[in-house]
Symmetry: C2
Subunit: 359 residues, 2 copies
């Protein structure tokens, strides 16, 4: 097991990464200060791992809430169901919520913990690659609005993160590939050696080689933890973690939540960002091609859905959270391993990238 820390002063917390963590109650127990625990999972993950989490809670009052599975349920309405369960169980401000599942469960449970009685404890037990390398770390919580992805939420840190790599054994291939998109993102934005390692090891990752997966998760979490410690509330560098996300969120919102996986949409978004970076003269053509080639080897889509036009993209991207003083801001690549936040991109060049991407 490896343990990293997100260094946030008195809100510092550990990320434990490795096999068999669900069978080590001593990792979970320090993060449950009260006597009441609500484990929240979904219909896919609960049958696989809920029993082991419950076994770790012996002696505590714990209740379970099983939500439907999918991005389309990451809504205020589902959140309300969480609050109703907490109140029906008479859970107090010293209770703890445990998020057992992927990014949707983690984002929603984190936001519920931020709001219930103005803030209760919570722990992340991510069971997808995407959640283990990205969404469970750093305290971004949210639900979606029909008009925009992750538009309603809070910065709210967990007490700890338990990434049991054994849970990836049951992950569908499509979800594994979607998680790799966020892994590749870290290489692209700030870690060229990691990008090169990924180019050399993508085959092992797709084959679910345990050592390779653990290394990829650890290096991803290390990058994420560093950035979050520097800029918890995204006033600066943290925005770079959104490489591909402005385009990606437009795909997710425009297609209807749940149609595309988040990582798939981000993969296309990173291709678009690389293309735009090339048109602006920053990234060499072979750099953009390396981005596409690695994503293609990871089995990820490279082009947006044919149903969305360039105009759709521009309309959907206008509500992006990085818009400032009326200007769209995009994360682009100065070079491989070096991202930058850019405002005032020439709209004609942006449109060219979008229009040519559908080919």
């Amino acid at each position: 097991m490896k343990t990293l820390y997100v260094e946030l002063g008195d809100r510092r917390y550990p990320i434990h990464i490795g096999p068999g963590l669900l069978d080590q109650p001593e990792l979970l127990r320090p993060h449950l200060p009260g006597q009441q625990v609500l484990v929240i999972s979904n219909t896919t993950v609960a049958p696989l791992y809920l029993d082991r989490v419950r076994a770790a809670l012996t002696g505590l009052r714990h209740e379970v809430l099983i939500l439907p599975d999918g991005e389309q349920y990451k809504t205020l309405a589902t959140l309300d169901a969480v609050f109703t369960a907490l109140l029906n169980h008479r859970f107090a401000r010293d209770c703890t919520l445990v998020a057992l599942g992927g990014g949707v469960i983690g984002d929603m449970v984190g936001f519920a913990a931020a709001c219930y009685q103005r803030g209760v404890h919570f722990v992340q037990i991510p069971t997808t690659l995407l959640a283990q390398v990205d969404s469970s770390v750093g305290g971004k919580t949210a639900v979606n609005h029909p008009l925009g992805k992750n538009m309603i939420g809070a910065f709210y840190q967990p007490g700890g993160v338990l990434a049991d790599t054994d849970t990836l054994g049951t992950l569908p291939d499509r979800e594994l590939r979607a998680g790799l998109a966020e892994v590749i993102k870290y290489g692209l934005i700030r870690d060229l050696p990691f990008l090169e390692w990924l180019e050399a090891n993508i085959g092992h990752l797709l084959a679910r080689d345990a050592a390779a997966l653990t290394e990829a998760i650890e290096r991803s979490c290390r990058n994420k933890a560093e950035i979050v410690a520097l800029d918890e509330r995204e006033t600066g560098e943290r925005a770079l973690l959104n490489l591909g996300h402005t385009f990606g969120h437009a795909i997710e919102t425009g297609m209807g939540y749940g149609e595309w996986l988040h990582g798939e949409a981000v993969a296309v978004g990173m291709c678009l960002a690389a293309d735009l970076s090339m048109r602006l003269g920053w990234l060499a053509a072979d750099g953009a091609e390396r981005v596409r080639a690695l994503l293609a080897r990871a089995g990820l889509p490279l082009a947006p859905p044919a149903q969305l036009t360039a105009d759709d993209f521009l309309r959907l991207m206008a509500v992006d959270k990085k818009v400032k003083e009326g200007q769209l801001r995009l994360v682009l690549l100065r070079s491989l391993g070096r991202a930058t936040l850019v405002s005032g991109v020439d709209p004609h060049i942006l449109r060219s990238t979008l229009e040519d991407s559908f080919q």
Copy 2:
């Protein structure tokens, strides 16, 4: 005009108190860092004061959202309408929400500001006595859940508070009295000289004497600002501000939101707290009588609604936010001007207070 500050480091903010503030745009403008402003008010307050607030916003892009008036609309569903308006207007993370109204508007707009894009600016323009002396200051934001009052919310501070005392001229008598309950609360919990001043001046306050109202608001806000600076997130002394509120929230939830005004429910709750404090041997009988006498002179109810039984109270109070380790905690009076947070109150004595209160 008087200006107090809530001392919260880099989140320090002013409370301006006095007549004619709505006609001084220079008070509002420093708190609007971006170019987009959404003014949120209700159907009662907007016809009275919205034009003057809009006049202060000349040159900025400002939109207006008018919500229905009443505690029964302080819900997640109304909150969703705020998010929809913000997204339809393409409002970005650097926008500002302006809450123009009483405590319901302030609590809900503050929570919307806390959650929209994970946090945007907001300003409080409280137009009721209750909002000016209590709810607009200190950053407690929330909506209600059918199972419990203020159960979903956040600690989130405004950029500034503008309490224009002229707006009290249009306040219905019932609302004025409800606000006086929270004013009296400050005297009871920590400010005996203020309590004595209130006993001497309650007639002037009910007659809406401008100087008396301004002094009452200023002394209330000073107490509130001091407590919030010491204990923003209610880990200690801030809980004392909840004198009467555990009982009061039970009345509001049990009767259906909007039947009783918050201040009316708190007035009864303070009578119950004083009675219980007396039964525990802390408060002398004449002390409890002074509490009742002052609230009676303020025209506030002293006894709970006959529809609620002692069992109803005990059930509704079990989800209070101050419950810790399964124990109900109550704010009680050691003496007049000195409150304390107590856990483990003998349930038989609590029941006696409740049962005898219906007489």
